[in-house]
Symmetry: C2
Subunit: 418 residues, 2 copies
Amino acid sequence: MDIEKSIKDLAVSVKAAARILAAAPTREKDLALLAMAANLRKRRDFLQVQNRIDLDKAVGNGLSPAMIDRLTLSDQVIEGMAVGLEEVAAFPDPVGEIVRMWQRPNQLQIGKMRIPLGVVGMIYESRPNVTADAAGLCLKSGNGVILRGGSEAFHSNMAVLEVLHEALEETAIPASVVQVVPFTDRLAINYLLACEDEIDLIIPRGGEGLIRFVVEHSRIPVIKHYKGVCHVYVDAGADTEMAENIVINAKTHRPGVCNAAETVLVHQDMAAGFMPVLVAALKAAGVEVRGCTRTCALVEGLIPAADSDWGAEYLDLIIAVKVVADLDAAISHIVKYGSDHTETIVTRDYQRAQEFLRRVNSSVVMVNASTRFSDGGQMGLGAEIGISTTKLHAYGPMGLEGLTTTKYIIYGNGQIRE
Amino acid sequence: MDIEKSIKDLAVSVKAAARILAAAPTREKDLALLAMAANLRKRRDFLQVQNRIDLDKAVGNGLSPAMIDRLTLSDQVIEGMAVGLEEVAAFPDPVGEIVRMWQRPNQLQIGKMRIPLGVVGMIYESRPNVTADAAGLCLKSGNGVILRGGSEAFHSNMAVLEVLHEALEETAIPASVVQVVPFTDRLAINYLLACEDEIDLIIPRGGEGLIRFVVEHSRIPVIKHYKGVCHVYVDAGADTEMAENIVINAKTHRPGVCNAAETVLVHQDMAAGFMPVLVAALKAAGVEVRGCTRTCALVEGLIPAADSDWGAEYLDLIIAVKVVADLDAAISHIVKYGSDHTETIVTRDYQRAQEFLRRVNSSVVMVNASTRFSDGGQMGLGAEIGISTTKLHAYGPMGLEGLTTTKYIIYGNGQIRE
């Protein structure tokens, strides 16, 4: 009962502060971001002392080395947080941008102006650097933010918040535009998801379990993606060297992330010549290859793909490979098994390139490029607060612009309706 | 149990048809819209015979004359439906529009392309003409649509559907992109709202009760507005004739709709001179005026406004009037009591006009124009499928563009990530 009331009070206070932030000039927001960056550097020792409490507990609880790595606020991670805030300060301010303006026959001038969404609720797992990253993006886009990180990073997150608050106290931006839920109790998430009058958008980041939990319990709109099952389609007549490079890069550059490729579809005319080369290259790169019947007939010693391999998100050095009849068959496979994340075609054919771009409605569709470019930073959107495979509001990598909406503004000179 | 399965099957079939529609060329969609319009005219007698069944039942159930009027498919209403579809055919196709395109340092060309949302669920009350209007907007924007009208219009809605299907059978567009829920049982709405894998967006149109019901039961994103409490703020030094015209137009042009004004705020410097004139004009136009203490002190014989008058949506010839200290006080009042719908300032002052436009974050904010212009058609957005006071995805009047999302398209020439 106490937790519920505390969270509601926190949300109300963030909403009030967000109103002030929404009207703040760009320069004041940028100064606040730079002050936050400077204080993260200045208070590095404090951050690491607090982080140590979480790390000691994590070691005691037997967390995996990978988890402990993600949890650690090393010098490098703290410097990265500071640089991230400085980069956000350097981005153009989305708020106030007039997206378009037109005039009506009765001389009304009508435009669409970007405004903040209001308050964003962010629910994530272990990395404490997300706390600073998300705070920076929300502040720049004029939104209040309530952060709820993983309980294993609790002391680290509260320390980051304290350091950001110290910095904001010296600026024109109210410190309470950024808050961290000060409870590790899982029920705190439920209470947060019920604050529909204060919070405008929930962004969960983490495993599919966390995201499904949030979607099921939220009365607030959620922007999410469950998984990334990205496809590479190698078209008839494709440049085989380019195809090989793209598949290897898309699979092995960073296999554990959502824009890594999970399935390769190869046009049947390419299969006999290209498949043995591709499989050899994948194996040489340490990738386990699971092939369809036709692939297994072409290349010896492959693991036959089971039905569950189509649409699987391995997040590992494993890939499923399939021979398809043509572009239509490739698109049908993607529609049936894809996750609306990212797909790429490797082709020399102009017509099929255009057709793939137009007919595949995943959030990012590419020609002759690695799926690893499906990323806000790589695409020039600035830092990324999340990626959406929900079509409403934002679809694909979501940066500052996705944290705004547009209102209509109308300049009249006394017009009334006849 | 049967109803639940039927609705699920219906949704699955609309989703499949919508995939074909999503890739249809503009010309095929426009021909389909024109065929639908032509068939509505041709089958007018059939529509009116079926409409008569609903009307006889409505008279038997003692529905109000206003309700019966809204339910009637008169010659004029049918002609309006046909003309509406022809107008939608004439609009530019939003699908395929490249909203923006840029190039990255590594020569990747990245753009945002409009695509349909997928399938829209529309839940509304009595007017059967909405059935054709919504079908037209969804078809043009490449979306499948499942319509659920009021049970009192059941035979009319099914007849409109039959006429639209007859027309579509002769075109390249699959008829099942448009469907009406063939059950009057209220539970049908619950089943529809649970089809989260088939339906991408729910748009409820009707009273606050219907909308709250939909929001509470939907697992699908909902675009909604509960009410329209529109404010006119008359600034110090405003042109009193313009202010009077705008208030009278905003209140009396069509008092029963959501963009009618419900509250007038008058700067205190204007009160003594302008308030008696304004109140007299309102009374002459048949409007009941409820005044704040200061207004009542200035004008005799007014009804004192109760607390509940601020923020009230009268939808009738009643208006609340209040004297405010300045622009800040006006904005505070709007933030506290407004509904994020539409607000207008009447002013001669450049600085305060700009400040009002920037600081008020309702979905439509105006200077020197009647709130009645807050309408998709009036604003040049084409026909309107709804109006949103939810900031996510669409905010304000929502036309064809609001029925689309954007995907990212990337043209590469073999790029991989280093």
